[in-house]
């Protein structure tokens, strides 16, 4: 397997790397359920979580992932308003990198944040925890683990993703993953919430939610920012949005008895998802949250392990790297 130096997005990962991270995450689920939630894998490693956008689950899960693997974890929440100028982003990145962390986990509203910073921070592994409307790779790896748990493999399945696709990094990362792992994406939104030429991802595009439901193996609801709806004339009202694109019990029944419900959170109950659906037995939303910690453990372990092995081996033996990483994983389970 090609070593994973950074995690910018699903775009940069091949199928083998994706499956490696999902499987590694799968093996970490158990640690999180133990009474003693600690493994020594990342002892002596420093991880900085730098969040320029609000986040509860992503930030917390990265923090827990690092701590449960015995890394030293620092969290920084920088308000986007105070750091809107990119130069501050670069200065902040360079300042933190100068303190020699192994990994810098970054969320920022600027698409391409990691690609931009990587040119200036050659010695720090960067993890994209969400960059504008670009990518959110750890969310998609989390979802893939959830899909693996539900179905064994996502291959051949149909995921119907609904909502503000235009501004969604989750949607983009899923569309990229679908192609690599062989599942089908149905994209559902009014044209006002679809980005230009979305069909070039190879997905099916629907404006009618009800038409997209039959045959769906999962309905994946996206959070809708209500201010975005009205400010941009994307939709006239929350009421009409819920009627056209909200997931309710009736729609879930139309999707078939085995269709599961997913949502990357945070949910707007009564907007994109009705409460009875969100809390139903078919909802895997809290599984996604649980798997988020395991996946972020896997990502941090892979990046820290990768760095070390790369140095040791001069980046030559890829096979050996994956074996040693697997051994590292074996030591802690």
């Amino acid at each position: 397997m090609r070593p994973i130096k950074h995690l910018f997005g699903i775009a940069d990962l091949d199928r083998e790397q994706i499956e490696y991270l999902v499987n590694l995450g799968d093996s970490f689920i158990d640690i999180n359920r133990r009474p003693l939630k600690k493994a020594p894998t990342l002892r002596g490693k420093t991880i900085i979580n730098l969040f320029f956008e609000n986040s509860t689950r992503t930030r917390t899960s990265f923090e827990l992932a690092g701590k449960r693997l015995s890394a030293d974890v620092i969290n920084i929440s920088a308000s986007t308003s105070a750091t809107k100028k990119g130069e501050t982003l670069l200065d902040t990145g360079q300042t933190l990198a100068a303190m020699q962390p192994h990994v810098l986990v970054i969320r920022h509203s600027l698409a391409g944040t990691c690609e931009f910073l990587a040119d200036y921070l050659p010695n720090t592994a960067l993890v994209n925890a969400g960059d504008g409307a670009h990518e959110h790779p750890t969310q998609i790896l989390t979802d893939l683990l959830t899909m693996k748990q539900a179905w064994g493999t996502p291959a051949g399945k149909v995921i119907t993703i609904v909502g503000d696709i235009a501004h969604s990094r989750v949607a983009r990362s899923h569309l990229l993953a679908a192609k690599k792992l062989g599942y089908t994406m149905r994209v559902v939104a009014p044209k006002t919430l679809l980005p230009s030429q979305i069909e070039r991802y190879g997905c099916e595009v629907f404006h009618d939610f009800d038409a997209a439901l039959p045959g769906s193996d999962a309905v994946y609801m996206l959070r809708v920012q209500t201010e975005r709806l009205t400010d941009n004339c994307a939709f006239p009202s929350v009421r009409e949005y819920h009627e056209a694109y909200g997931l309710n019990g009736k729609r879930l029944r139309a999707a078939g008895p085995d269709c599961i419900v997913m949502h990357p959170g945070p949910m707007n109950r009564g907007v994109e998802i009705a409460t009875d659906v969100a809390d139903s037995a078919r909802s895997h939303i809290l599984d996604q949250v649980e798997h988020g910690v395991a996946i972020r453990m896997a990502v941090l372990a892979a990046l820290c392990g990768g760095q070390e092995e790369e140095k040791k081996m001069g980046g030559s033996s890829r096979k050996q790297l994956s074996e040693e990483a697997m051994q590292a994983q074996g030591r802690l389970i």
Binding site: K85, G86, L110, F116
Partner: protein
Amino acid sequence: MSGTLLIKNGHIIDPANAVDGVANLWIKDGKIVAIGAYDGEAEREIDADGKIVCPGLIDMHVHLREPGQEWKEDIESGSRAAVAGGVTSICCMPNTGPHIDHAGIALQIIARAKQVNLCNVHPIGAVTKNLEGKELTEMRELSRCGCVAFSDDGLPIWHAGVMRKALEYASSFGFMVIQHAEEKQLTAGGAINEGWISTQLGVSGMPAEGEDSMIARDIMLARKADARYHVAHISTQGGVAMVRQARAEGLKVSTEAAPHHFALTEEEVLGYNVDAKMSPPLRTEADRLAVIEGLRDGTIEVIATDHAPHHEDDKRCGLSCAAFGIVGLETMLPVSLDLVRAGVLTMSELIAKMTSNPARLLGLDAGTLSVGAEADVTIFDADATWMVDREKMVSKGKNTPWHGKTMTGLVTHTVKAGRIVFAEGDVCG
């Protein structure tokens, strides 16, 4: 200034006079005195054997940043970059600080350019005060003080009513209005062309319709006002088609293309390349080919760079935050020569788009090698290659998408009013 300069054995191309052949060019006291035989002796000679000798190039779309943003560029550094690129006349856009919206600033820029004394600098006056799009500037006064056309470039004249009045008023006195055609309500928040690339990068796009809709509106207003209307830096297939149709109808509509719009596409921004960010943005291959076709069939009469120097700080902040614009003066000629190499234009047609055509549009006494004309001359080797190195650029702006790329076509000498101002890689004076 005095003395006799002989440019020997060059291939002289002077589109305005249909000169296209190897000959000697004689310059005395800052003026062209003869092509071919001359009864006199040369005090200085430039051997132009194997090179092309043409009128000094004109770039009618340059941002000099002085006054106001001298850390990005100033009249001296911009003039030096111009002559290094073979350009002897530049028109500078009014989005300085203060803006070129009153006589004093226009006079100050012209006076400063004369002190620098490397190339002609012709200000373009603002159409509206403070570029606010509300009240018209004193265009007659600005014209008397040296402004050669009017524009709010950097910003569109967005208000249809103001644009109508601007076209009516300007055309009452024969002035040309240059529009930065961008419907901001369609491009708000955009950083690059809207399309498949912007979708993949997750960056807000600027749709071609933002440019097209304003060109369409303006052509209607120009028709009604019987006005001279010039579209700056045209970049879309739709825009080129509308200008072509307007010209066929006989309207006084003209346009220019920037080298980046006929040489590059939106693919350049992949990887979040801030040096490929400008407004209007790099578009699709279909748009690029439409611009080339417009150049070929004469719809686009002028090549102008939209030279927009920025400081590193304004670019080094990621694609969405980075300032719009790239430098262009030093790469204008070699990039444009690709059009000749590709068989789109003859050498003479290409040179006309950078000399006699903009001179005619703007009423400049430049752009020819006529006997008696001021001796502004560019000498270049069309086949010599060199590599663009941002650190070696003469402009203060280092923001070029061609860094590290090989250029074919090298300016070897630039002569301004008979004085050698650039020779073999060095700006003189």
